[in-house]
């Protein structure tokens, strides 16, 4: 696995590789099963969970409906608080802004708070091209970065790795990135965490520039919020002289009180904890305390495109909890890399097509089909994103985008089905051929179906024929002629 999602194959092909990896399958089934159970337990503790979901969805939906006003307000309040606000239309603009700030301070390295949005724009790679080293400080992100690997989960990016693999990565890669791992490193989780802590501490104390994303941005107070489990993010947010926060425009909420349902929904949905251990908030610059220069980059990168999608816009409510990944039977078996994006699983299957648009990339177009539409994702989503409905809508958009091209066999088959299902007489005619069709299929082999599944036996007569022959069973079934 090389450390880029660029040029990934379409989902079915990428999934095949993961399905054949029994270690990966075991790691994933074990990890998602554990988080799933934890989540279910702490969610069951909340009597008004459904009301909370509705409230969380409403907060995000209201903010999205009036996004422009909230963003302008956010810019005003942040500026008044002493922060500098930048606007970025796409990844290239955002990366250039962050690189310019780092260069202004002659920084050769930056420390990073775990952030999905900076991965989405490929910030680390862009900074590396400018000669700036970006260090991930979240434990799991550190494992991925040191291993020259790709994240495979929103919350637990190294979920596909077990502790023996992590020990190997630390032993062989830490030295080149800074403080080496101790010679007697074992694969005990506490020992591995201690090694990471020693390694990262040097970087926290040395770096002049910190880079973060934000879980939420409050318009009325100009406050950014990061929730985390380890406290490493807080180190990055408070120790460097300069802080740059890259924030997707969908992160804004109107008022401080509106954080209430969101901060209650997020930890239970994501880590299965009642509350996350660290919640950091910052509002611009406070003289003599924390970073003395604060920049906020407000990023679009496809979000206005998603916002314009009547059905799909609800995906922008996502608070990146990853509950949908942990319950998804497809994700559990294929892992995150198969989705070819930093946003894997059910939410990734709708978010990528929404942000990037469909009809021009086979990999993106394959994602809305990477689901059996079982609906487990919608059931657990804390902000009630109807992922199955969006998947179906995205599929329709994929099909529509290809309507003018050379029709695929599938499109021809669907046209045929439309004709047959338009009249029962046509269907009845076809049923006489069903037996022949299935027999032939059995002989020739519909490879995709019969690879590991038998076909059912064909009945002697269809239901329709039985109904006609027996008048719906009113005439005696046996010997009635």
């Amino acid at each position: 696995m090389s450390a880029t999602f660029v040029g990934m194959p379409a989902f079915p092909e990428a999934a095949r590789e993961a399905l054949a990896d029994s270690q990966l399958r075991y790691n994933l089934a074990h990890a998602t099963g554990t988080i799933r159970d934890k989540r279910a337990k702490v969610v069951a503790e909340v009597d008004d969970w459904e009301d909370l979901r509705v409230a969380g969805a409403a907060v995000k939906e209201t903010a999205l409906r009036d996004l422009e006003r909230h963003l302008v307000r956010l810019e005003e309040t942040l500026t008044a608080n002493g922060a500098t606000v930048h606007w970025a239309r796409d990844a290239a603009e955002a990366n250039a802004i962050v690189a310019a700030i780092a260069k202004d301070h002659a920084a050769e390295e930056v420390v990073k708070v775990k952030s999905m949005v900076t991965q989405e724009i490929g910030l680390n790679e862009a900074l590396a091209e400018e000669g700036i080293a970006a260090w991930e400080t979240d434990l799991a992100e550190l494992i991925v970065q040191l291993g020259d690997d790709l994240p495979s989960h929103i919350l637990v990016p190294a979920i596909h790795r077990n502790r023996a693999e992590i020990r190997e990565i630390f032993m062989s890669k830490m030295a080149a990135a800074g403080r080496p791992a101790p010679d007697d490193l074992s694969d005990e989780p506490a020992v591995l965490a201690a090694a990471a802590r020693e390694h990262l501490r040097e970087k926290f104390l040395r770096a002049k520039v910190g880079v973060s994303g934000a879980n939420f941005a409050v318009a009325e107070s100009g406050t950014l919020v990061v929730v985390e489990s380890e406290g490493n993010g807080r180190m990055c947010l408070t120790l460097p002289e300069v802080l740059v926060s890259v924030v997707g425009i969908e992160k804004v909420v109107s008022r401080w009180e509106e954080l209430d349902p969101l901060l209650r929904l997020l930890p239970r949905s994501s880590t299965g904890e009642r509350m996350n251990p660290y919640t950091s908030t910052w509002s611009g610059v406070t003289p003599g305390d924390g970073p003395q220069e604060v920049h906020v980059v407000l990023l679009d990168n496809g979000r206005t495109r998603a916002l314009a999608d009547e059905v799909g816009r609800q995906a922008l409510r996502c608070i990146r909890c990853s509950a949908c990944l942990n319950v998804c039977p497809v994700y559990e078996r294929t892992g995150g890399h198969a989705y070819g994006s930093v946003y894997p699983g059910p939410i990734g299957a709708i978010l990528n097509p929404l942000l990037k648009g469909v009809g021009h990339d086979d990999q993106v177009d394959s994602l809305p089909y990477a689901s059996s539409l079982c609906g487990a994702c919608f059931e657990v989503c804390p902000v009630r994103i109807d992922i199955p409905a969006v998947l179906v809508d995205q599929r329709a958009q994929v099909v529509d985008a290809h309507r003018n091209g050379v029709p695929k066999p599938e499109a021809a088959a669907m046209k045929g089905a439309a004709y047959v299902f338009g009249r029962s007489s046509r269907l009845a005619g076809l049923e006489r051929l069903t037996g022949i069709g299935l027999g032939l299929a059995r002989r020739v082999g519909i490879a995709a179906w019969t690879g590991a599944r038998d076909l059912p036996d064909t009945p002697k007569e269809s239901f329709r024929a039985w109904w006609r022959r027996t008048d719906g069973g009113r005439r005696k079934e046996h010997g009635d002629d």
Partner: protein, 262 residues
């Protein structure tokens, strides 16, 4: 009450016994069910694959076939879900206001079998007899799209002679998912294999569900593994009585004798 059977295209072509079981069962419960000949398919295969325009004729045929009935009963959670939740999307897209209105009128009258029995007829004991050890797989669309809850379980628990055993990971998808089974065959089969493993763990003779589409997939995997566990539709168990069980035993005995004589 005018009740229509929506048998579904897969049952019509591949599982006529399921449709016959619904007819037998409802008639036993005093409901005369009609089979509108004009019905074809609910259109779900097209909708779920993204071919919304191609689903319009199916939805149009659906509302024409079932208009005027007080209730439409279907032995499929998936197809019921399609009629209830997807037809409106197709109708809206067609731009035909009459079709949209017809869908809005009809959709709430479409019931999955267990819903119809429990909610409309108000019965959980349908007088069935089925002396077998079975495990129940709640299909995703009946579980989540319709929310049938414990209705199928309550119906099964009232069947005399039946032993119902819990299925581990019951609420996990079997991996069928319509065209997903072909488009993402490897993933589908991996999911099906896990489902089959859980089913075998129960030691049940049969796996029962309310959707023959899912059972085709699950049964296909179980059959390939020579597991000996058979897929059975809920309707066939509920329609079964002492008389039909005896009849089936006679048929089996006859087949055995024939085999032995050969």
């Amino acid at each position: 009450m005018r009740v229509a059977l929506m048998v579904t295209c897969i049952n019509e072509a591949l599982y006529p016994r399921t449709g016959q079981a619904v007819v037998r069962l409802l008639r036993r419960l005093g409901v005369e069910v009609d089979f509108p000949q004009a019905q074809t398919c609910c259109g779900q295969p097209m909708v779920n694959t993204g071919y919304l325009d191609e689903a319009v004729p199916a939805v149009r045929t659906f509302v024409e076939a079932f208009a005027g009935y007080d209730a439409v009963v279907s032995p499929s959670g998936s197809c019921t879900g399609s009629a209830r939740h997807q037809h409106s999307i197709v109708a809206r897209r067609s731009g035909d206001a009459d079709l949209e209105a017809a869908v809005a009128d009809l959709a709430p009258k479409v019931y999955e079998l267990s819903e119809f029995l429990v909610d409309v007829l108000g019965v959980t004991d349908v007088g069935a007899y089925y002396p077998h050890r079975v495990t129940y797989h709640p299909t995703c669309h009946s579980l989540r799209m319709l929310g049938v809850g414990d209705r199928p379980r309550r119906l099964l628990e009232s069947v005399r002679g039946l032993t119902l055993v819990d299925l581990p990971g019951a609420d996990q998808c079997c991996g069928f998912g319509g065209t997903f089974a072909v488009k993402n065959a490897d993933t589908s089969i991996a999911m099906g294999a896990d489902k089959a493993r859980h089913i075998k763990e129960t030691g049940a003779e049969m796996v029962v569900a309310g959707d023959n589409s899912c059972l085709t997939h699950i049964g296909g995997v179980l059959s390939r593994q020579r597991s000996g566990v058979r897929p059975v539709h809920l309707a066939e168990i509920l329609a079964s009585t002492e008389a039909t069980v005896d009849e089936a035993a006679e048929v089996d005995a006859g087949a055995d004798a024939e085999g032995a004589a050969r």
